[in-house]
């Protein structure tokens, strides 16, 4: 009888673990479509990436569609190249799309905003390995303040 009781309690223990795992999976972690599944890579050259980091998100209209895979400096023209890893599901962005580095909130973290461009018949979609031509760099607060002070001095 004691062994039966311990078996029941161990069963309860296992059930509790499953419940805790489910809670972590449903409420705590983001499983979503981003992070798992097949992705393709796009590249973008920026003048200045500001505080962008690896694993920052790539968003279209606020919806996360991918992550920053890696950041490195082009050894020839010394501009940062950002590799964007985007979920395969969203694979029909026209070549005229533009990317910019944006900040969520005043002090929030930086992310890459993708603005889909117009698509006419002879414009192809971005595919694996393509460079996005139209990029806007991050706003660097120090530069802005510098420009502001400079323009005030001129007045």
């Amino acid at each position: 009888m004691t062994s039966r009781k311990s078996e029941i309690l161990v069963g309860l223990f296992v059930a509790l673990t499953i419940a805790a795992t489910l809670m972590l999976a449903m409420n705590v972690a983001s499983k979503g479509s981003v992070g798992q599944g097949e992705t393709y890579n796009l590249y973008a050259k920026f003048d200045n990436i500001g505080g962008l980091k690896v694993r920052s998100s790539v968003k279209v209209g606020g919806v996360t569609i991918g992550r920053v895979e890696s950041i490195h400096l082009d050894p020839e023209d010394f501009t940062p190249v950002v590799t964007l890893s985007i979920v395969k599901q969203y694979n029909a962005f026209p070549e005229t799309s533009s990317v910019s580095i944006l900040t969520s909130g005043l002090l929030g973290e930086q992310y890459v905003g993708l603005q889909p461009g117009f698509s006419i018949d002879d414009i192809e979609n971005l595919a694996e390995g393509d460079y996005i031509a139209d990029t806007k760099s991050a706003l660097v607060l120090e530069d802005l303040i510098g420009q502001f002070l400079f323009s005030r001095d001129n007045d």
Binding site: F13, L16, A20, G35
Partner: protein, 258 residues
């Protein structure tokens, strides 16, 4: 000359102990799995896992509550109390869950395993099993090893879940952080593979180390009352140090380079 001999002796003793520990591990792990040992393992899971459940859940609850309280007082200065959820969840999932569970497990279950096996050795129960042609490594040690290996990751998951609920209790119910931002920012920050699974991997490593140390110290203890008491102390000390040291190494591997 004397100290040189002592140095040599202690080095040789260390190596011999590592060898004996590997022998115990190999003898109990690399046995042909026997179905009749499954009930023994379940019995041990009751002793090792279920009976540790209350201490794990209570500590998880309080650690989550304290994290929320401490985090709130700092974050609210910057108007960033929305980040309370990810702060509590990440610190519990990545660090506190696996580490505190392992430390509590070493104190609560590891010491008990050592004392039990040590006393079996002192009262010559292990020898009498061998007389009956039953391998004590398989009959006594293996079920306890498996029970420890299985129970601790489960306890860690429960600890983390209860801790995050504790953070919710203090942060949302008491201090008035918005429930929506607590959960949704947590959800967008915490990742399943990078955070939850890495915590579980950590706890599997800790489970292995703590249970191995506990079992070996019991099996290798000097069969006297002083010997068992020394072995029990060593179990808690060694496994706590091993957990804290390994935690740094694992953290460096998992989260160090991004």
């Amino acid at each position: 000359m004397e100290w040189l001999a002592n140095l040599g002796k202690s080095t040789l003793d260390r190596f011999a102990a590592v060898g004996r520990a590997s022998y115990v591990l190999a003898g109990s792990l690399i046995a042909v799995p026997q179905l009749k040992n499954v009930p023994l393992t379940i019995k041990q899971m009751y002793v090792v896992g279920v009976q540790s459940l209350s201490i794990i859940m209570v500590s998880g609850l309080f650690i989550g509550m304290v994290m929320a309280l401490q985090g709130y007082t700092i974050l609210v200065d910057y108007g960033a109390e929305g980040s309370l959820g990810p702060m509590v969840a990440l610190s519990i999932l990545r660090e506190l869950g696996p580490v505190v569970t392992a430390l509590l497990f070493a104190g609560r279950a590891g010491s008990a395993l050592t004392a039990e096996i040590g006393l079996m050795k002192a009262t010559e129960q292990l020898s009498s099993l061998e007389m009956m042609a039953i391998d004590p490594l398989r009959r006594i040690v293996a079920p306890r090893l498996w029970a420890g290996l299985l129970s601790m990751p489960m306890l860690t998951v429960i600890f983390s879940a209860v801790g995050i609920l504790g953070g919710h209790l203090v942060g949302v119910e008491w201090l008035g952080v918005d429930a929506g931002s607590y959960w949704s920012i947590m959800q967008s920050t915490v990742e399943w593979n990078a955070d939850v699974m890495n915590g579980v991997i950590k706890s599997i490593v800790f489970a292995f180390v703590v249970t191995w140390i506990a079992i070996f110290k019991g099996y290798d203890s000097v069969p006297t009352s002083e010997g068992i008491s020394a072995a029990t102390t060593q179990t808690v000390v060694y496994s706590s140090l091993a957990v804290l040291g390994l935690d740094f190494v694992l953290t460096a591997i998992m989260f160090g380079i991004e």
